[in-house]
Amino acid sequence: MSESDRTDAARYWRGLEERTPDAALQAQLRPEFTPQADVAPQGLDRRHFMQVMGASFALAGLGACTRQPVEELVPYARPPEDLVPGRPLYFATALTLGGFASGVLVESHTGRPTKIEGNPEHPSSLGATDRFAQAALLDLYDPDRSRAVLHLQRIRSWEAFLQVLEPALEAQVPLQGAGLRILSGSSTSPTLAAQMQRIRARFPQARWHRYETVSRDGLRSATLAAFGRYVEVRYDFSQADVVVALDSDFLTTGPGCVRYAKDFMARRRVREGQYGMSRLYCIESTPSATGAVADHRLSLPPAQQLACAFALAFECGVHGTGVLGPAGAGDLEKWRQIIGLDLREHAGRSIVIAGDESPVELQALALAMNQRLGNLGRSVIVSEPIEVEPTSHIGSLRDLVQDMRAGQVELLLVLGGNPVYDAPADLDFTAAMAKVPLRAHLAFAEDETSENCHWHLPLAHELETWSDARAHDGTVSVMQPLIDPLFGGKSMHELLAVVAGDKERNGIDIVRRTWTERLGADFDTRWRRILHDGVVAGSEEPLLPLELQRDSLTQLFLGVASDLAPRLERRNDSLEVVFRVDPTVHDGRFANNGWLQELPKPWTRLTWDNAALLAPATAARLGLANEDMVELEQGTRKVRAPVWVLPGQPEDVVTLHLGYGRRRVGRVGTGAGFDAHPLRTSAGLVHASGLRLRPTGEQVKLACTQLQHAMEGRHLVREGSLSEFRDHPHFAQEMGHGVHAPTSLYPGFEYEGRAWGMVVDLGACTGCNACVVACNAENNIPVVGKAQVRKGREMHWLRIDRYFEGSAEDPRVVQQPVMCMHCENAPCEPVCPVGATSHGKEGLNEMVYNRCVGTRYCANNCPYKVRRFNFLQYADQETEVLKMLRNPDVTVRTRGVMEKCTYCVQRINQTRIQIKKEDRPLRDGEILTACQQVCPSDAIIFGDINDPNSKVAKLRQQPLHYGILEELNTRPRTTYLARVTNPNPERGAAAGHAGDVRGH
């Protein structure tokens, strides 16, 4: 203690305790103040000051000496000298879901990824992506991502974790790794496969368990039964004239869905003189996006659906399926004949597809039908498995739980996933896991599983890591990072490298090791090529000529059929429950993603919540209405959920979407929805019967973006059957009121030069929502939250309208993407008092944000209601990490300003500058709006309507072409192609489905 300090202490005292001579008490008091507090500023002389400052400067300088790892993130798609601020670079990589890759090109502005596009070279993408890939960017910049290694909720370092892990691994070496378990989701990564082999070499007894909510177990087991081994099944929809989907949402979810949508819709594109079109039957136990597109949709409870599938299989001549007899009531029987006939007539050119979540029996029936119809090898392709070491997920998880319970697991590494949240309730995973002495969870954010693990390790985002993955057809992509891990996360490979005891601990070294072995000579050139293209050319899995094992399948069918008979008898006292992953937040991994939370779900248009979906008749019988809180009881387990009455839901079936009700999640996902997992057991992963429902009398508020479900007889969505189109090609144009002759005294504006226009092909739209998320990402559209959505203030510039038609039990659904129409006579323009929205000479209706004072008159006067107003400060301008997310080419709007679709004017201008520099005319298709670029089914076409050779100008000449509300003389530039469906003419109008032209 210095002299001055001592005298100070003597002079001033803070309490009587300080004056006590009790040394122990004095010692206790001291740590209350930081050591620096002792250095009194008083008496600091020049010499002392120089000492302190000198030391500080030296230390500050040392901080800069941390050696940054030198990694080569090249090759650039363009050489580095092109790195001009304001001009983006594009890198090819891939994003995975359920292990399967979809290739993407990521736009990078001065080193930060700002937009994800599909990779045209990638077979699962062909330039488009799904909604999840679009939203991945927001995940990357999620401020709630975990930022540190945690041990029992305390911040530790990665090295500290290794100091614990490595001895634990060493201890496993003599046991051959008998106590080591790794749990992860599915993977298709060759690097991961190689690492697993090296881990096996080091720990032969170690086991690798797999579990995902969408496990695809049904398909795996079915292939095992059908072929005696695991194989992968993929489909070629370009070869299919007739498609029967059994609970399959192949157009919008699952591996290859983007490609499937593209192929499928290409076969349904009808134009004048071009009438070839495939037909889609959907037989589903809960409404799906694919079902909304179907020509015929049958909505059946799971047991009836299975019976129907049996009947169909019998109709196709599959052995062992005739035991059930007729498919039920008269109408169903008729359907069996009609669909069966259609399938047989198109043998070899049809597809029967069951959903990723469907149980084994449905999958096996589909496989058997495809085989019987001769589709295998043509439209249905069987190949070697694409996943690494395929296994039954539920079996794998059950084994792990058993081992953990038996105390055989000493070290558990959970790589991604969230089993504490999503493991089947009856396994009681959490309790079993508690018995593991050392458990670590590598996860993107702190979640339910990290809470229950000793160590939480931040997982790097896929855009931050080196890895590799395979597409739905097996094509391999090497994934390269776009940015260093923002919060110091590690990849799975980096953790597994430690387990394997490899020298290479760095992401790039690990992946390069795999590829050095694979590529052999001329590594550098080929490696650069692969990174540049985003795919390894010619690496898809070839067709596997396999024979179906008829006997084992027959056995399976007989077993299932005998169980099925009692299930078919409808019991009135209980309901059936169907589980599905959520269409927007998936299995809960996207629960903290605002773009996906706020994305309206295809049928319900709900945001921010899941709900217990009930058929109108069931709800009426139970006296329930939307937003009524009910208690669902399955056995001894209970869950409370709000009701949503959904037309088209099968009677007495309750659909519960998984992925909501996360208990430990970031600020976005907190409080969203309810957790249906407690009702989900390993015996009833997909559906279960015996659900009881009890109204609680309470109400909760749900945020639905569309309150009106009928079109009120207005001709907004126009559709007709194929035969109608053939007979009256102009049916759609005759439906509306038509356009009145111009009545203005003034001559119209002459659009010389370019005139932008957009055509949306309603026949091709699957309602997959990818365009909506792409628009969010491209245009810096803010997320407003549930309360604001409930007020009707969602900011989406592009919305997908959904209308029901027909009866409540068996409605047809039509969907219509609606964005700014860029009317030539825009009603919004003359009413703005400050001229903040005005007309460009190329026909764009332009919004001048910094001139807008916010009268909202333009939005009132917009008949299409596509304008969006910043009622509050919606854009987050505070959170630093979100600033990196913004597209620098688009203004971030403040409160009080109107906004709307601009036709991605920043992209138009970029190309305009480019072609001016190159002194050449615009090429058609050179400018892609964000929604157009992402659309898997090419439903959105944008271009110059003044160029008679442009695609958009030609589509505007089609007889199917029409504009909505044209009778108001708005002269919209965004127009539509009427939807043409292909109902089975055999079916006629008997079921109220087909034949007639539907004008709404």
Partner: protein, 461 residues
């Protein structure tokens, strides 16, 4: 209008006199000036306090509004306008009676107007002040409201003159200015009276300055008369133009329920209807409070009731025509608009509107009702409410369900909507209370001309 009023006049001249018998110029002056010069009556404090409390609520609501944005209100995507615009149109409508009474009735030589015009003009000014606040408050970025004025900006950007909102700016600012001038010019002789009568030095100086050296010379009176007539002539077209322009905010839009050519006359009639209702609503309690039955007589009440009946019938005709045109147009959107008003989610608002503006008005056919101040007051309250509901129906019901069913929604006002609405009522009443205590609420010099003595002189002349 004209015929109606003239007819009223001829019938009522034989009626009771406009000033109770027994008054002389001195008693008139005493009685009216006393309202200002006497010490504050005890009831004034709680009444003014309540109004001022509401005004403070308004200040609170506006502070939060400026801090957070219009999102604190219930406005949303289909309904970009809500309470703010409803209240704006309502207040502007109320602000119509004053100028009508002062200007048009002055030109028409309707003597009975003289005991209510001062008060009605003040009401007009305050109502216009309340109305004028809303267009600024409802902006997303209110601090940029001046962009609506054609000032010489260095950016070279002008307002857009095609927008009805710009026409609004001109119409309302002109109206407010002319009304203020008219009111003030009319006040000058009475300010001089107060200057001469007050015992308070400060008041004398203030009134003296405001009286601008009025000495009551013949030249003064002559100039004053000329100024009044000229201002009346200026103000007369404004009575018609302001609400016509306000109605164009809607009529120029294409929303079913807005896009109607009948709107200008229909709105003007509605405004006079609402304005007279508000004059009655305020005059009858004030008359009772200050014992001014001698000047605001039953005849005044009867006359105002007749004007309300006449304009009310025009408004009712407007409703009928709206319904007829919706059907006759054969336009599905117009027809749906009607269905939606009558059967849609806001149908109770429409039913209440019909009850207030159609049913309640019909009671004014009865001479018995017209002679009862209480009954007329009750009817006027119905009309105040009814006219507010009418604007709600026009603004909100039309907006929430227009062309695209997918975009239909509902508008639910929040507490801040109510705070702001009641807050402006507080502002209005506070100004009104201050007015009656600080300025003569009835024109002293004009009442003097109504005395039998003055009338005799006039007749002999």
């Amino acid at each position: 209008m004209r015929e109606m009023c003239v007819a009223t006049e001829t019938r009522t001249t034989a009626d009771s006199p406009l000033v109770a018998p027994g008054h002389t110029t001195a008693t008139v002056t005493d009685k009216i000036a006393a309202v200002v010069l006497q010490s504050t009556p005890r009831w004034f404090y709680p009444a003014f306090g309540a109004s001022f409390g509401l005004l403070m609520l308004f200040m609170y609501a506006v502070t939060i509004l400026f801090a957070k944005g219009v999102g604190i209100w219930g406005v949303n995507n289909p309904a970009g306008w809500g309470f703010a615009i409803v209240n704006f149109v309502w207040w502007i409508g109320i602000g119509h009676a004053g100028t009508l009474i002062s200007a048009i009735l002055l030109l028409l030589r309707q003597k009975w107007r003289q005991s209510i015009n001062r008060f009605a003009e003040a009401m007009t000014l305050f109502a216009v002040a309340c109305a004028g606040i809303y267009p600024i408050l409802h902006l997303g970025r209110p601090w940029l409201a001046y962009w609506l004025f054609p000032y010489p900006a260095t950016t070279g950007v002008w307002p857009q003159f095609r927008s009805p909102l710009i026409w609004d700016v001109f119409a309302i600012s002109t109206y407010a200015l002319v009304s203020l001038m008219f009111w003030y010019v009319g006040l000058i002789p009475d300010l001089a009276t107060l200057r001469d009568r007050t015992q308070n030095r400060i008041a004398r100086v203030v009134y003296g300055m405001m009286a601008m050296g009025w000495r009551g010379s013949a030249a003064h009176w002559h100039n004053h008369d000329t100024a009044c007539i000229l201002l009346a002539a200026l103000a007369t077209p404004l009575v018609v133009s302001v609400h016509s322009v306000v109605s164009l905010d809607f009529a120029a839009g294409l929303i079913p329920g807005w896009h109607a050519t009948i709107f200008p006359p229909y709105f003007v009639a509605g405004a006079i209807f609402a304005g007279f209702a508000m004059v009655i609503t305020l005059a009858i309690p004030l008359r009772a409070a200050f014992g001014l039955h001698d000047f605001i007589t039953e005849r005044h009440v009867r006359n105002m009731a007749k004007v309300m009946l006449a304009t009310g019938l025009i408004v009712n005709y407007g409703y009928a025509i709206e319904i007829f045109i919706a059907w006759y147009s054969g336009n599905e959107y117009e027809q749906y608009m009607l269905t939606n008003r009558v059967l849609g989610p806001y149908r109770y608002i429409w039913y209440s509107l019909i009850l207030c503006n159609v049913v309640a008005t019909q009671f004014l056919w009865s001479a018995k009702v017209r002679s009862s101040a209480v009954a007329v007051w009750v009817v006027s309250m119905f009309i105040n409410v009814g006219m507010w509901l009418e604007r709600f129906v026009i603004v909100v019901t039309s907006l929430t369900r227009d062309f695209m069913p997918s975009a239909w929604g509902m508008y639910y006002p929040t507490r801040f909507d109510y705070f702001t609405f009641f807050g402006t009522i507080g502002l209005f009443l506070s100004l009104m209370f201050l007015f009656v205590r600080l300025l003569p609420m009835i024109s002293i010099f004009e009442i003097r001309t109504l005395l039998p003595k003055a009338r005799a002189k006039e007749k002999s002349a």
